[in-house]
């Protein structure tokens, strides 16, 4: 009994020592990366390869989402703050301004490739041939009243055929990500806005009443036709293979990994393939980025080497290992441009973002 008390006191003491030691040894010998869950699968592969190939420790990568990642990244300079943040959207002007204010003066932007967002369904059903307009009409909470400019109504459509006579006569049922997800943001921006823009009066709203425009395009119906399936795209794949009439919205890499179960719908006549996304024909695709804190490049061991690994042809090239993970590579010219930026560590300016 007495012994136990003594031992636990000693252990408490030791762990306090441990805290002290941790505070004293404030240097960090591994790269700390945060950010987008979309870039996470790619960054992790690079990190792993980097860790195996070099004498440096494998970088630590947290999947915090683009926004959360940027907040951590831009909170300051020093080992307590991450060195790199991954992002599935380009940094905004206000984000960069905030970085500057917090002392993060030099941020290097690296585009790594593209990600497609696909609308898929089970292999057991027919391939869908959709337009963005169909997607907008099927999923928006409020849709334009036919022949009545400026008027909106609660989304009345129950089947795809009601929207577009060429589509099958099946119930509208779409599994997709929740609003917290980057995939959802990208989907509403590219697919829903694209579809809404086919109504000229909505397209003009974009300039005159941006708030209303966003409300129309970004608000997804809540009557059960759109089913939030959680952040985990594997779940959506699973659900699609069990309900052949349903569609699902997910990242391209999940389609790529599950071609035996699901197929990607045509959107505006283009099917989501590597080639089509890379060439920019597929309309619902977005560029992926990461941002580097220049001040950390020479203080955290391995930063230059990690950047070199990421921008090597073996990684992000046309046949690089990132493509096997579903990243859609940039055209060679763009790759050369960003490789140069990385080599010279050219920081981003506010003007670049116009």
């Amino acid at each position: 009994m007495k012994k136990m008390i003594v031992i636990s006191i000693v252990l408490v003491y030791l762990s306090i020592l441990g805290i002290a030691q941790a505070r004293a040894g404030a240097a960090r010998d591994y790269i700390s990366i945060v950010g987008s869950s979309t870039v996470y699968p790619f960054a992790t592969v690079v990190a792993e390869n980097f860790g195996k190939k070099t004498r440096f420790k494998t970088p630590k990568i947290e999947s915090t989402g683009s926004g959360g990642g940027h907040k951590l990244f831009g909170s300051g300079i020093g080992v307590a703050h991450p060195d790199i943040t991954n992002s599935s959207a380009r940094i905004t002007k206000s984000q960069l301004e905030k970085d500057f204010k917090n002392g993060v003066k030099e941020v290097v932007e690296v585009k790594i490739g593209y990600d497609g967002i696909v609308v898929a369904n089970s292999r057991q059903a027919m391939v869908f041939r959709l337009n963005r307009k169909d997607l907008f009409l099927a999923l928006a909470k409020q849709v334009p009243v036919a022949g009545n400019k400026g008027a909106l109504q609660q989304n009345p459509y129950k089947t795809w055929k009601q929207i577009n006579a060429l589509l099958p006569d099946v119930k509208i049922e779409v599994f997709g990500p929740p609003p917290t997800s980057g995939t959802r943001d990208a989907f509403v921006e590219m697919a829903m806005e694209g579809g809404a823009n086919t109504f000229t009066w909505i397209a003009t709203l974009k300039k005159t009443d941006k708030k209303r425009y966003k409300e129309i395009c970004h608000t997804i119906r809540e009557d059960g036709a759109y089913i939030e399936a959680g952040e985990n795209d594997n779940l959506i794949v699973d659900k699609l293979s069990k309900s052949p009439d349903a569609l699902g919205i997910l990242g391209f890499s999940f389609l790529d990994q599950n071609t035996d179960k699901i197929q990607g719908s045509f959107i505006d006549g283009v099917q989501p393939t590597f080639q089509a996304i890379s060439d920019g024909f597929y309309p619902v695709s977005r560029p992926l980025f990461f941002y580097v804190k220049k001040a950390h490049v020479d203080t955290i061991p391995g930063m230059r080497e990690y950047l070199a690994e990421f921008t090597s042809e073996t990684a992000w090239g046309d046949d690089g290992y990132l493509t096997t993970k579903g990243l859609i590579p940039m055209p060679e010219k763009e790759r050369r441009k960003y490789k140069k930026i990385v080599e010279e560590l050219t920081p981003l300016t506010l003007d670049d973002l116009n």
Partner: protein
């Protein structure tokens, strides 16, 4: 005194007859109750059983791994004896594959061929060469892990009958694999990698050892802090604290804390340990501190009820013989309450072992490959590893997820068995 003729029970007839009449109804009620109880137990057992079946049937294949034997020529042109690490081992692996299928010449076909073995094969070869420098310049036989898609095929998770376009393995690759099998160059072995490696993005290279170590360090910190602190708090509050408004407020708050969603502790940890004390992100030390906050209320509450359960007659015995308050607590009450307190601690630990939400905020939900070697190395924990794998697109991570769940369940079972075991020992000692 009592008039024997006057009946205490109203009505006519002998008591025995009345009792007998009601007996059937009474027994029927009891039987019904037993059936309900039995059904309830069976239903919960059934669900547990289903859970186990689904996890085990999904996951047991993860304990095996498909290996491919290659005859690799350790080309002196590729390996520089003075710079072993700098050699292009992937190239040697590719050459070895090409030497089996010299007819593969087109670039795309070559790629498909290379994809049969894991990218980890090159690192295996590197490690082999580092240990066997004398073999450089000769041809060696080496078993390397197959790619996860091949592994899935061998394990029957890929249906050969589906058309090629929908398969992750095309017909050509299928033929190669079959050919390799017929030459005895493919075998399934026990998946040591799964138990000895850290995380990886390649399913065939991924293991849980890193997460197990992370969980271990985290729980050590939690245990070392929460048991003494929780125990001392429980003893003080139950045995020594005056009973007044302040202690009532403290008690209510501790009970409230036990019901607070665990993510709140993560936020608290972020604010206090990371932002205020400046401790590093993603380390077991901070994870342990956060989980300590989370488990303390449980330990205090269970500890107090264990102390409360100590028979008052033992307290009277101790006091009447002249033991002081501290002696009474230390010599008689604590030894009696200890098994209960330990059980509470272990239950708290088991809770902490399964927790991910609070760790999210302090950065322990992360991709970490290197095995943590201490309390301040970045690390993740078992449930986080499960969550991360469940979220990965590669099909082969599915079985890894289930296998990791099995490992987690095993640890939980061991901990709970320890609780039962400890209680037995203590009970026997008395």
């Amino acid at each position: 005194m009592n008039n024997l003729n006057k009946r205490a029970v109203p009505g006519n007839g002998r008591t025995i007859d009345i009792v007998k009449k009601g007996l059937n109804k009474r027994y029927r009620k009891e039987r019904r109750f037993r059936v309900f109880g039995w059904a309830a137990v069976m239903i919960s057992l059934g669900f547990l059983f289903l859970l186990f079946i689904s996890i085990i049937s999904n996951g047991y294949t993860a304990f095996q791994q498909t290996m491919v034997r290659l005859d690799v020529y350790l080309d002196t042109d590729v390996i520089d004896k003075d710079d072993l690490a700098g050699a292009d081992y992937a190239k040697l692996i590719h050459e070895a594959l090409l030497s089996v299928y010299p007819d593969v010449t087109k670039y795309n076909e070559k790629r498909k061929l290379y994809e049969l073995v894991s990218t980890g094969a090159a690192y295996r070869l590197r490690d082999f060469v580092a240990k066997n420098r004398h073999a450089i310049g000769t041809t060696i036989q080496i078993w390397v892990p197959a790619d996860d898609d091949v592994d899935m095929l061998i394990k029957g998770h890929i249906d050969r009958k589906t058309p090629q376009s929908r398969r992750r393995i095309n017909d050509r690759q299928l033929a190669w694999v079959d050919h390799l099998i017929s030459r005895g160059q493919v075998k399934k072995v026990f998946n040591m990698t799964f138990f000895t490696s850290g995380d990886s993005r390649e399913p065939e290279l991924a293991g849980i050892w890193g997460a197990v170590c992370g969980s271990f360090y985290t729980l050590i910190v939690t245990l070392v802090l929460s048991f003494p602190i929780g125990g001392a708090a429980a003893v003080y509050l139950e045995e020594f604290a005056p009973k007044n408004r302040w202690t009532d407020i403290i008690e209510v708050n501790i009970n409230n804390l036990a019901a607070v969603p665990s993510i709140v502790y993560g936020l608290l940890g972020l604010a206090v340990f990371l932002n205020f004390f400046g401790l590093p992100r993603s380390v077991p030390l901070v994870g342990g501190l956060v989980l300590t906050l989370m488990t303390l209320p449980t330990i205090i509450i269970v500890g107090r009820s264990a102390l409360k359960a100590v028979s008052p007659s033992i307290r009277e015995a101790g006091l009447s013989i002249g033991a002081s308050k501290v002696q009474l607590v230390a010599h008689h009450v604590l030894p009696q309450a200890l098994p209960g307190m330990l059980t509470g601690t272990i239950i708290g630990m088991a809770q902490a072992l399964g927790e991910t939400a609070p760790l999210l905020m302090i950065g322990m939900v992360a991709f970490i490959v290197d095995i943590p070697a201490g309390f301040t190395d970045p690390s993740t924990v078992l449930p986080v590893q499960i969550y991360l794998w469940a979220d990965s697109p590669e099909r082969a991570f599915l079985e890894k997820t289930s296998a990791a769940i099995m490992v987690l369940l095993l640890f939980l079972m061991i901990m709970n068995a320890t609780a039962v075991f400890l209680r037995r020992i203590f009970e026997k000692r008395q």
